[in-house]
Symmetry: C2
DNA sequence: GTCATTTTCGTACTTTAGTATGAGTGTCCA
DNA sequence: TGGACACTCATACTAAAGTACGAAAATGAC
């Protein structure tokens, strides 16, 4: 990540420096020829850099959006003291499974599932599984 | 929506026109005084508009992201034959509400809520509310 | 007005969810 | 070795959730 970011920064600054140098050469020639008003040159470059700014910014923001669709906050899971088993069951709940189905999927009894769910609910501070889903999403601990 | 967009466009173009006018005045004075090189004036305005471009673009993209985190497929809702009331209840389910709470929120009895939910479930082809949520999300009919 | 659909509500019932309590097992660490 | 913790399971209970009828009023289109 850091290498990629550094490379980008170097590339962008390099490109900008190049642009400024080209700009200097061009403006000298144009000013010397005296055929065009200075205001139009300035306006042209202003618009050019305005567009460049928009373009670069749009690309960087788009990549950011694609890179992180929904990042899971594993630190939050630890903070809440949610164990592996409890989290597995939370995922199963988000898949729409009943307690019985969860038990069959994880090879434990329905009683066990209920125990885990009760503990999970108190850790999430909720009363129902639908509430648990909503809370888990806002805490970004499920996708 | 259209009014807001139009207003924004008018405002932005107005601001840009104003900037260009100010730019003309300033450049005239500076060029006349001959105390600064023309290149530096151009470079200054280029950087200025570069920054303005980034700023405007960032703001517009941020608003877009907040406004539509996940686009809702309203055509799918029609296709499935889900009525307004049923959809309202689906949203309430996604907020973690119990049938009782939904009834209180929509000013109807719990029986009515149950009726709607039964119809909704058959339209979504599910058996439980957690399944309904999962299905509604993969069909992109809730956020 | 008539017809289809939506919305509303009820009762009776079955199933699932969730709580409370207790207890056995295994693991890891001090 | 003793304690903290996670995982397991059971029983008994209460509370929601969901189904299956039936039925009345409101809405909107034809």
């Amino acid at each position: 990540m850091l290498n990629t970011t550094l490379k980008k920064i170097i590339l962008i600054f390099g490109a900008l420096t190049l642009c400024v140098l080209i700009l200097f050469r061009l403006s000298s020639y144009i000013v010397v020829s005296e055929s065009v008003a200075v205001e139009w040159i300035i306006a042209g470059f202003a618009i050019l850099f305005f567009v460049i700014g928009i373009f670069l910014n749009k690309r960087s923001l788009q990549k950011k959006q694609l890179a992180t669709p929904t990042e899971i906050d594993r630190k939050m899971i630890e903070t809440l003291g949610i164990s592996k088993r409890e989290y597995e069951i939370l995922v199963k709940i988000s898949e729409g499974c009943s307690n019985k189905e969860i038990g069959e999927a994880l090879f434990v009894s329905e009683s066990t599932v209920k125990s885990h769910i009760s503990n999970l609910f108190s850790k999430l501070d909720v009363k129902r599984r639908t509430q648990a889903l909503q809370r888990a999403k806002e805490l970004k601990i499920i996708g």
